[in-house]
C-alpha cells in the first residue's frame, strides 16, 4: 500500500493537454479518439475549456465502397460526401474544446475541479491555410455524452451546455 502511495506522488501531477495527448470524443460527430496537435491557448498546453486543434485517430467505421470514400482534405468540403458515416472521419484535422480534463482547474469559489478523463467536443473541421479566427465555434455534433463543467459558459460554448446530460 505504501509503495503505491509514493509512486503516485512521484508521478507528474500537472498534466496539460499538449501535442500528442490523446483525447476522447464525447459527441456524435463521428470521431472516437483524437490526438492533440496544438493547443490554441497557453504555452504549456490546454486546460479545461480551452480550444485545441487535433487530428482524428479513430472514427466510426467507414462505408465499404462508393463515392463517399476518402475525400481528400484539400478538396472543397462537401457534407454530402459523408452521409452515413459521421461528420468527421479518420485523418481529419479538427477544432475541439476540452470539456473534461484530468488536470485540476480552479473555480471562482476557490475550489478545484478535475475529471476522470480528457475529453473534447468537436467544433469544426479545420480548413487548410485558414487559421482559427477567434470566433466562437459551436459543435457539429448533436449529442454530448457524460458530465460537462460550468466553465464552458464563460467560453461561450452554450450549445454544448444545452446538449449536455449532466451539468457539473
Amino acid at each position: 500500500m505504501i509503495s503505491n502511495f509514493w509512486q503516485h506522488q512521484q508521478q507528474q501531477q500537472r498534466t496539460f493537454i499538449q501535442m500528442g495527448t490523446r483525447l476522447k470524443v464525447v459527441d456524435n460527430s463521428g470521431a472516437k479518439e483524437v490526438v492533440c496537435i496544438q493547443s490554441l491557448r497557453g504555452k504549456k498546453g490546454a486546460r479545461l475549456g480551452d480550444i485545441i486543434i487535433c487530428s482524428v485517430k479513430q472514427g466510426l467505421p467507414e462505408k465499404k465502397k462508393g463515392k463517399y470514400d476518402a475525400v481528400p482534405i484539400g478538396k472543397k468540403f462537401n457534407w454530402k460526401d459523408f452521409i452515413g458515416t459521421g461528420k468527421v472521419r479518420k485523418g481529419n484535422v479538427v477544432y475541439g474544446v476540452v470539456v473534461r480534463a484530468k488536470m485540476q482547474k480552479g473555480r471562482v469559489d476557490g475550489s478545484q475541479v478535475c475529471f476522470d478523463d480528457n475529453a473534447i467536443v468537436i467544433l469544426g473541421i479545420k480548413e487548410p491555410k485558414k487559421n482559427y479566427s477567434g470566433g466562437f465555434y459551436q459543435p457539429i455534433g448533436t449529442r454530448v455524452f457524460g458530465p460537462v463543467p460550468h466553465e464552458l459558459r464563460l467560453r461561450k460554448q452554450l450549445k454544448i451546455l444545452a446538449l449536455a446530460q449532466d451539468l457539473v
Binding site: 473534461r100 475541479v113 475529471f115 457524460g146 458530465p147
Partner: protein, 170 residues
C-alpha cells in the same frame, strides 16, 4: 481542520467524501467521475487515498471509522434523549377548538366511562323506544285491518279500500 476560520460565520460548508470533515469555501478538490458522481475532498491526502482505493472505514482518523466503531456514542445518545420527549399536540383543529380539545384531554377516566355508559344507555333506550313504537304500529295496523275486513262487505263499491295507509301506484 481550518482553525483560523472558526470565528467566521461560514456561508456553507460541505463534507469531505473520504474523511467526513467540513470543507470551508475555497478549500478542497472536487473530483467528477465519468458517471457524473461528484466527490469532494478536503485535501490531496484524502484525494490520493481515494484514488489508491483505500477505505475510509479502515483509517482511524476518518468519521466513517469513528461511526463504525462507535467512538462518539455518548454524545449521540444525549442528542437522541433530548429529542425523545414528545409533547401532546396542542393546536386547534377544524371541528374542535383548542378549549374543547383541552377539556376532553383533562377529563378523568371515570368521568369518561360514566359518559360512555350514559351514552350507551341512551342508545339502548332509543332502540327500545323505536322497537316499541314499531310494535305499537303493527298492532294498530293489524287492528285496522280487522276493522276494514269487517267493513268490506259494506263498502266494497266505494273505490278500492286503502290498505296500509295508501299503497301508491303499483
Amino acid at each position: 481542520m481550518s482553525h483560523s476560520f472558526d470565528c467566521l460565520c461560514d456561508v456553507r460548508t460541505e463534507l469531505c467524501r473520504f474523511s467526513g470533515h467540513k470543507i470551508y469555501p475555497g478549500r478542497g478538490i472536487r473530483f467528477i467521475r465519468s458517471d457524473s458522481q461528484v466527490f469532494l475532498f478536503i485535501n490531496s491526502k484524502c484525494k490520493h487515498y481515494f484514488h489508491n482505493k483505500l477505505k475510509p472505514s479502515k483509517l482511524a482518523w476518518t468519521t466513517m471509522y469513528r461511526k463504525q466503531h462507535k467512538k462518539d456514542a455518548a454524545q449521540e445518545a444525549v442528542k437522541k434523549r433530548r429529542r425523545a420527549t414528545k409533547k401532546p399536540y396542542s393546536r386547534s383543529i377544524v371541528g374542535a377548538t383548542l378549549e374543547v380539545i383541552q377539556k376532553k384531554r383533562a377529563e378523568k377516566p371515570e368521568v369518561r366511562d360514566a359518559a360512555r355508559e350514559a351514552a350507551l344507555r341512551d342508545i339502548k333506550e332509543r332502540i327500545k323506544k323505536t322497537k316499541d313504537e314499531k310494535k305499537a304500529k303493527k298492532a294498530e295496523f293489524a287492528s285496522k285491518q280487522q276493522k276494514i275486513q269487517a267493513k268490506i262487505p259494506k263498502a266494497a263499491a266505494k273505490g278500492g279500500p286503502k290498505l296500509g295507509g295508501g299503497g301508491g301506484k303499483r
